[in-house]
Amino acid sequence: MTSETLEAPVTPSTTTEPAWLAARREDGKTQFETLPAPSARDECWRFASVGRLSTEGYAPSNTISEQQLAQFEARSNLVTERAGSMVYVDDHSARFESISEALAEKGVIYLPIAEAVEKHPELMKKYFLQESTELGSEKFFGLHAAQVRAGSILYVPRGVEIAQPFVNYYWTSEERVAVFPHTLIIAEDNSKAAVVDVFFSEKEENEALNISVSNIHAGANAHVFRKVVQDWNEKTVSFQLDTTVAGRNAQVKNLAVNIGAARARYENQTRIEGAGADVKMYSLTVAEESQEFDQRTFQTHNAPNAVSDLLYKNALLDKSRTIFSGLIKVAEGAQQTDAYQTNRNLLLDPTADVNSMPGLEILANDVKCSHGATTGNVDEAELFYMMSRGIPKRIAMQLMVFGFFEEVIEKIESEELAENLRQLIHKKFGEKIS
């Protein structure tokens, strides 16, 4: 992205933005312009094809017709039972299903960014764009801060529990569009909420740039579950920069299914600030052709007695690449920590390329920490076992590979979404797995 497109007025609303936000955007812009481009010498970018990461030549979309917007309504339907929903196309709003009056009366806030900034300035000032990634894409977080306009703000007050999820869809449509989706979840003490973010492309052939950010703040004993479905077309360059801050006894789950994009950088960091917190990080990636998935994770334990558990599974077809780099950091004094990290890679093609860097930094001694990384092909003995039951090789392979996916999918806690994802994956890869 050139600085020219950066300076262009993004939406009319930016002109009326409060000074604090304008300043934050200005900082972001400076950050983007001054930080160096990723370099393979940098540990944060080790093994990554940094040459394929250019943000040049993409621009935000300025207008879109109502007719165009309307057609995305019906197609944004992975989850039917929901507490609220937004649909964006090239960062223009196509749907905003507000929350029920009952929830509104309890003080729940679910709003697009601009409205939230206008109606709840103090809340936004405190949380919006305050948690940057620390895993290498700080430069791109800066660009996001400067440009973001599409996204959802969810605030769940103390003690309020919401059973149904909020579902946000982000579509790209135009050629060489840049989008900057944002998810902010603030769950106060003893509250409960779930959010599903879905990333889709309208057309297979149009190139796009995505820099999305999500920030979760989970208060004491809050329960938050965020699910991500990333199925951009394979012309998209995507940065997904997610952070979670977990308070005392908070229970947070992150689950991502990533099957799209040409080049997907996924940074996911969790900071445990409260004792007794329990954070889960699950990811399933299926890669094909020349796709490259670059996953960087960080589990920081700053408080004792907490649990974090990470499971990242990757299946690779064709000459695709995956990079997993994870770090568990247990700070001094964070005793009785249980932290785990597992990366499992299934190589389905001899030309695919798996890179795994599971890391630990432990500064407290009374901890249970372990990590494991395995890479291999489909197990021949298992294949024989299945075939000996009369199952043809192709079907046996499919069963095993989809069985490999199940460990993540079964954790999704929504049979509807799980089934839709199984079908999505089957449609995209079913023919290839044999």
């Binding site: 093994f47 795994s356 890391g359 009374d366 372990s370 990384a373 890479t375 021949e380």
Partner: protein, 474 residues
């Protein structure tokens, strides 16, 4: 418990923890002076009366060393505390290594006697080389091995007398440009062992080298090259100590192993440098078809050790192994690991790393497993286990694994644990002291791995661990 308390306790319990902590007055014929430039390198080359190609090799390496930045983009900032301009790069008494201990100068002989080297030689070694600062003071191998064509000499002698054997492999397994410290060694190397084991010759007893630093502000840069010809087998052991000086000492070795078809090389290190030594060593072996290279690496001493023994699995069916134990006490950082480069089908590698961090000690594992090409049926297994003794102990694990190809399996597992208060209580209830209980638990932690070591070394290692563990509980 403060550092001072720990130290006092240790000294009260067993003065032997300071076994290597003594030195003799300096008395050197040749001294390259302080600091490093072209003249320093030329001086070393002149003293050794080297061939032009060796001198060129050194000067080229110096250039690389000067150009390469410190690897602080991934390694510890403590490297910045090495002052290359304050180090002395070559010190020797200017004599050939003696073939009998009687001919060794008294102070040097006494040094090695205090370290028990002549005794070990009599007991179980096939040959010994004892290096004092820059050059070997003693070098001897059993006569029957000489008759079989085994060559066991210092680096200078090896390059001078047997260039046809050593030159083809010298600097080939580890090029000068591999890293900043391999470049430094290539520019200033002196001493070390050059060994050639002819086809089919299998050494029943190990050869040993002992590296001793005596002088303050000194840098020791020995260079070792071991070639096991087809079907040959050799075990080589090295030990090292230095006195505890006020200022930092640098030890930066390069060790290259070449195992030709079906040969086996086992290389054992017990590093017990004093806690002011920067120990920055590059070690790598090349394994041809059916060959095996095994590194057994124990790091007990030093201020900072950075060492990642590697094996380049070049021929089909080659095997590589790194078994390591690191013990990081207060003020120490053991930054160790392993590298396995799989370059042929059916190659297997195994890495087992056990580390123990005591007090504010820090142990780090860095690993690299690389199966970059379209290989078949390769296997790697890596296990890293860390034991943390005190609440402020630290451990890190940073593996990097790249896999491609068919029917390859790579498995990495790491765990972190501590000795539980209940375990200690249980053992104390049976009448053990707290320190003994802790030692027992730590020995249990490394026990499985130590079984793979030759007996003499596991005994020595157990003794060293016991000593380090004394007074660690608090």
């Amino acid at each position: 418990m403060s550092d001072i308390d720990l130290k006092e306790q240790k000294e009260a319990i067993n003065v032997d923890t300071e076994k290597g902590n003594f030195s003799y007055p300096e008395n050197y014929e040749f001294d390259a002076g302080v600091g490093l430039d072209e003249d320093t390198v030329k001086y070393i080359s002149d003293v050794k009366n080297e061939a032009d190609w060796v001198r060129e090799f050194r000067l080229k390496a110096l250039d690389i060393f000067n150009k390469k930045p410190m690897p602080t983009n991934w390694a510890t900032e403590d490297l910045e505390n090495i002052h290359f301009d304050k180090i002395r790069y070559y010190l020797s008494k200017g004599q050939q290594p003696s073939r009998s201990w009687e001919e060794v100068p008294d102070d040097v002989k006494e040094t090695f006697e205090r370290l028990g080297i002549p005794e070990q030689e009599r007991k179980f070694l096939a040959g010994v080389e004892a290096q004092f600062d820059s050059e070997a003071a003693y070098s001897r191998m059993k006569e029957d091995l000489e008759k079989e064509g085994v060559i066991f000499v210092g680096s200078s002698e090896g390059l001078e007398k047997y260039p046809e054997i050593f030159r083809p492999y010298f600097g080939k397994v580890i090029p000068s440009s591999d890293n900043k410290f391999s470049a430094l060694n290539s520019a200033t190397f002196s001493g070390g062992s050059f060994i050639y084991v002819p086809k089919g010759v299998k050494l029943k007893q190990p050869l040993q080298a002992y590296f001793r630093i005596n002088a303050e502000n000194f840098g020791q840069f020995e260079r070792t090259l071991i070639i096991a010809d087809e079907g040959a087998e050799i075990t080589y052991m090295e030990g090292c100590t230095a006195p505890k000086f006020e200022t930092a000492t640098l030890h930066s070795a390069v060790v290259e192993l070449v195992a030709l078809k079906n040969a086996k090389i086992q290389y054992i290190t017990v590093q017990n440098w004093s806690s002011n030594v920067f120990n920055l060593v590059t070690k790598r072996g090349m394994a041809d078809e059916g060959a095996e290279v095994k590194w057994i690496d124990c790091n007990i001493g030093s201020r900072l050790t950075m060492k990642y023994p590697g094996v380049v699995l070049k021929g089909k069916g080659a095997r590589g192994e790194v078994l390591s134990i690191a013990l990081a006490n207060n003020g120490q950082h053991q930054d160790t690991g392993a590298k396995m480069m799989h370059l042929a089908d059916n190659t297997t590698s195994n890495i087992i790393s056990k580390s123990i961090s005591i007090g504010e000690g820090r142990s780090t594992y860095r690993g690299q497993v690389h199966m970059p090409k379209h290989l078949k049926n390769c296997k790697n297994n890596t296990e890293c286990d860390a034991l943390l003794i005190n609440t402020n102990s630290r451990t890190d694990t940073y593996p990097a694994i790249t896999t491609r190809g068919e029917n390859n399996t790579v498995q990495h597992e790491a765990s972190v644990s501590k000795v539980s208060a209940e375990q200690i209580f249980y053992m104390m209830q049976r009448g053990l002291s707290e320190g003994e209980a802790m030692s027992l638990a730590v020995n249990g932690f490394v026990n499985e791995l130590m079984k793979a070591f030759p007996m003499e070394y596991s005994v020595e290692l157990k003794r060293l661990i016991d000593m380090e563990m004394e007074g660690s509980v608090g």
